[in-house]
Amino acid sequence: MPIEVHLDRVLLERKVSLTELSERVGITIANLSILKTGKAKAVRFSTLEAICRELDCQPADLLVYQPKES
């Protein structure tokens, strides 16, 4: 998928574990894992807002558009 999720990088930079983020934002580890591994089909704005608030980052830090080379 052209949209890459860099949640793992941001977690590493902030030294926050997935479990801790899950508790802070109120989203299950399973769902965060779906997002982290790039399997999510859609992200709610509320989820994005919660993650950015807790990790003190911008959506652009989490989501990057990488077009496929034809």
Partner: protein
């Protein structure tokens, strides 16, 4: 709903859907053209037709036909077989892609899906119109209403119905899949 089951059933339905779509498009686009040519060539030839659930078998008595007519007939048959072969190769290729995607855990996307879909819908829209017009014209000429219900049209109608059901199911499965993978 189990995500893996959704994905596998989606692939199976995608493959079946496109098999039906390409097969019916080929039938609508090619068969009437070739059968018209064959009818013109064979108008004075002794024929016996036996029909079954999946189509018709034609036995021809070619004794007494000149060489040119036999040649034209041969080319018409070859054209029909070649188009059928091309469709089969295309469908098999898509099935292989779909199965490979399943094994590798990737999503399957039909090649040229949008273009094929639009073309197919445009052709399909002509089928009921043509059938209604032909039936009306036939009733005017013959003076009574006699719908043409030969096996080819039956197959097309069944194909269209199957496509509609497949489309609705596909849309439902896609929605379920996206709902489960929305975070």
């Amino acid at each position: 709903m189990n995500t893996r089951l959704i994905k596998v059933s989606k692939v199976v339905f995608d493959v079946w859907f496109w098999f039906a779509l390409v097969g019916v498009v080929a039938l609508v686009a090619v068969a009437p053209f070739v059968t018209t040519i064959m009818d013109a060539i064979l108008e004075n030839v002794d024929r016996q037709v036996s029909t079954g659930f999946l189509g018709a078998t034609v036995e021809l008595n070619l004794d007494g036909l000149d060489e040119e007519t036999v040649t034209n007939l041969s080319w018409a048959v070859i054209a029909m077989l070649a188009s059928g072969l091309a469709v089969s190769v295309y469908v098999v290729h898509q099935i292989r892609r779909a199965l490979r995607s399943v094994l590798e855990g990737r999503a399957f996307k039909m090649e040229n899906e949008g273009r094929l879909r639009r073309m197919a819908y445009a052709i399909f829209s002509l089928v009921p119109i043509g059938w209604i017009t032909g039936t009306w014209a036939d009733s005017v000429v013959n003076g009574h209403f006699s719908p043409n219900l030969d096996p080819q049209l039956g197959a097309i109608a069944a194909g269209l119905l199957a496509l509609s059901i497949a489309e609705i199911y596909k849309a439902g499965v896609t929605l379920a899949d996206e709902a489960e993978l929305t975070v």
